[in-house]
Point group: none
Chain length 223, copies 4
C-alpha cells in the first residue's frame, strides 16, 4: 500500500517532469506557462507546486533529468568491449542525434545555472555527462591509442563544440542526422594518435588503416 502510494507519487512527478520538458523545449523558459505544463501533465496548477517550489526549481529538475538521461543513454550507446575509436564514434553519433532531438533543452541549460541572477559554475550533471567522454579519452591514452601529451579539455571543446554547432546548423535547416559530420570529426581525431615511424615510411601499412580495419571487425563481430 505504502509502496503503491509512493509509486503513484513518483509516477506523477515523472509525468510533470515530462510535461515540463516538452513545454520548456517548445516554448523556452520564459515562454513556458506553468498552466500549460499542468494541463499536459493532467494535474491542477497548484499540484505542480507540491512537487516543485517554483518555476525555476522545476526548470532545474528538467535540466537535471535531461542530462542524467543523456548520460545514461550515452553509456548505453557505447559498446563496452569496443576500441576507443569505435566508442568515440558511438558517443559522437549519440550526442549529435540527441542534440538534434532536444536542442532547445540544451540552450535552456544555461538558464538553470542561474541562482539569484548570478551564474553557477557548472552543473554537476553536465560534469557527469562530460566524464563519459573524458573516460574514453583517458582510456585511449592509457591504451596508447592517443598521445600522452594531449590536453583532454581542449579536445573536449572540439568534440562537443563541433557537434553542437553541426546540430544547430542541421536543425536550422530542418535536416536530420548526417553521418558525414561524425566521419569528419573522427578523422580529425586521427591527429591525436601517437606518431609511429612506420606510419611515415609506408603508404599502406599505416596504423591508421589497421585501426580502421579493427573497428570494422569489431562492428562485424556484433552481428
Amino acid at each position: 500500500m505504502a509502496e503503491t502510494q509512493r509509486q503513484r507519487l513518483e509516477a506523477r512527478e515523472e509525468t510533470i517532469l515530462a510535461a515540463a520538458t516538452a513545454v520548456f523545449g517548445e516554448s523556452g523558459v520564459d515562454g513556458a506557462r506553468m498552466a500549460e505544463i499542468a494541463r499536459r501533465a493532467d494535474v491542477a496548477e497548484g499540484t505542480v507546486y507540491l512537487y516543485y517550489k517554483n518555476k525555476h526549481e522545476l526548470l532545474e529538475a528538467v535540466v537535471d533529468r535531461f542530462w542524467r538521461e543523456l548520460t545514461k543513454g550515452a553509456i548505453a550507446a557505447i559498446s563496452e568491449g569496443a576500441n576507443v575509436n569505435q566508442q568515440l564514434h558511438e558517443l559522437a553519433s549519440y550526442h549529435l542525434q540527441s542534440l538534434i532531438d532536444d536542442f532547445k533543452i540544451v540552450e535552456i541549460t544555461s538558464r538553470a545555472r542561474m541562482r539569484h541572477g548570478e551564474p553557477v559554475r557548472q552543473l554537476p550533471q553536465i560534469r557527469e555527462y562530460v566524464r563519459v567522454f573524458d573516460g574514453i579519452m583517458q582510456r585511449g591514452i592509457d591504451l596508447r591509442e592517443f598521445s600522452a601529451d594531449i590536453a583532454i579539455w581542449q579536445i573536449r571543446d572540439v568534440f562537443y563544440g563541433t557537434l553542437e554547432h553541426s546540430a544547430r546548423t542541421l536543425v536550422l535547416r530542418d535536416q536530420v542526422f548526417d553521418p558525414l559530420v561524425i566521419d569528419h570529426l573522427m578523422r580529425l581525431f586521427e591527429q591525436y594518435r601517437p606518431s609511429l615511424e612506420t606510419d611515415k615510411t609506408s603508404g599502406l601499412q599505416s596504423s591508421e588503416i589497421m585501426q580502421a580495419l579493427s573497428r570494422i571487425e569489431t562492428k562485424l563481430s556484433q552481428f
Copy 2:
C-alpha cells in the same frame, strides 16, 4: 543645421542601441525591461518606440548591429597580406575574444530569428560574417595550402563550434582569453593540408583508403 539635426538623431539611435545591447546582454531577451533600456539611454520610454516599433524589432536591431560590427572587426583583424594560416589564426583569436566579451548576445541571436513564433532560416548578417571564414578557406584551397577535397562547411562547424564551446567554458570559469585554445585549433587544421610527398608515391593514397573505410564504417553503423 539639417546635418546637425540628423546627426543628433543618429547619435540618439546609437545610444539606444548600445543601451539595449547592454541590457539584453545582461538580462536576456525576456529579462530585459524596456524601461531599463530607456533609462540607460537617458531617454523617455516612449522615445525608444520612436526608433523601434517594439521590443522585438529592437532586439533584431541589436543582433543585426552586433553581427555587422563583428564582421567589420573580423575583416579589420585579418592581415591582408598574410598567409592563410596566419589569417585563420587572427580570425580565431578575434572570434574567441569577441565571444568572451559578448557571449550573451550570441545566445540571444536565436531569439531574433523568430518571426511570429516561427523560426527564420538564417540571418543575413550571420551569413555575411561566416563568409569571412569561408573566404579565407577558399583562398587556402586556391593557394594549395589546403586540400581541394575538403568540405568547407564541415570545417566551419569545427572552427566556430570549437571556439564557441571554448568561450563558454572560459566564461563559465571567469577565465580570460587563452591562446592555447587557438594554438590547438590551428594545429588541428594541419590535417587539412595537402598530403605529403610519401603519400603521393603510393598508387593508392592512404587518405583515400581512409575515406573509403570511413564510408564502410558509416554504412555498418546503420544496421
Copy 3:
C-alpha cells in the same frame, strides 16, 4: 457543495457584470477602467479576466445582459389580457422609463456591435427585444385594431425613435418620466386604426387617394 460552489461563481460573475454595467454607464466604453470595475466588484483585476477574456467581451456581456433584462422586463410590464392599445401604452411607458434610467448603456450598445473594427449588422438580443413590439402590432392587425396595410417597421421607427429622443431630452434636462410623451405617442397611433365607416362608403377611400398622392409627391421630389 458543488451546488454552492457553482452558485458562488455565478454570483461573482453577476457582481462583476453589475459593476461593469455601472462603470460603462458612467464613463462610457473608453472611459471605463478595468481596475475600477474590479474595485467595484470587490475582486482583483485579474479575476475579471477569469470571467471575460478582455474588455470588449465584458462590454458585450454587459450589453447582452442589458437587452435581455429589458426584454424580460418588457414582457413582464405588459398585461397579457389587455387590448392592444393598452399593451402599447404599457410598453411605451416601460421603454421610456428604462431609457431614462440607462440611457448610457443604449448609447454604448453600438460599440458592442463592433468585431475587429467592423460593425455587425444587428445584435440578436435587440432583435428579441424589438420582437415584443412587433408581436403587439401584429396582434393588433390580426384583431383589426390596426389597418392591415401598415408597415410595422415604419411604425417601429416612430415608436422607438420618439421614445429615445424624448428620453434624451428629458435626461438632458434632468427631468423624470413624463406621461405626456406617452399620451401623445399613443394618440399618434390612432392614425393606424382602420378607416371609419364614412370612409368605407365612398367608392374611392380617401386614405388610398392620399397614398397615391403621396407617391406622386415622392416621385416629383426626385427631380
Copy 4:
C-alpha cells in the same frame, strides 16, 4: 497682405477642422488620433495645438461646425415660398440624408457636451438647428395648417426621433435614403391638422386631399 495672411490662417483652420471631422467620424472620439488628424490636414502635430487648445476643444469645434453647417443646409433646403407641409417634407428629407451621411458625428455630439466630466444642458448650435423645425411648425400654427393646441416639443421629438431611428436602421443595413420613411412621417403629421367639419362628412373633398394637391402644384411650379 495682412488680409492674405489671415485668409491663409482661416483656410488652415478649416483644413484641420475638415480633417478632424473625417477622423472623428470614422474612428469616434477616443479612436481618433491627433496625429492622424494632423496628417490628413497636412500639418505637423504641434500645429493643431496652435488652433485648438486640446483634443476636446477640437471636438467641440468639429461638433459646432457640423451643426452650424447642418442648420445652413437645412435653411437652404427649404423652399421659402412653399407651404408648411412641403417645407416639413424638405426638412425631413434633408435631415434624413444628413444623418445617413454623418451618423457618427451626431453620436459624437453628446461627447462634446461634456465639461469636466459633467454634461452641459444643450449645445447652442443644436438649439439653433432645432429652431428651423420650430419655425416651420409655428408658421403652420399661425397659418391654421396645424391645430393651435399641439405641443411643438412633443412633435419635435417625433420628427427628429423617427428620422434618427430610421437613419440608424438604414445605416446599419447599408441602405440608402428611403423616401417611404419621409412619406410615412408626413402622413403622420396629418393628424396635427385642425379637424374640419367637412372632413368628416365627405369622402373625397377632404382638406387633406386639397392640401396634398396644393403641395404638388407648388412642386410643379418650381420647374
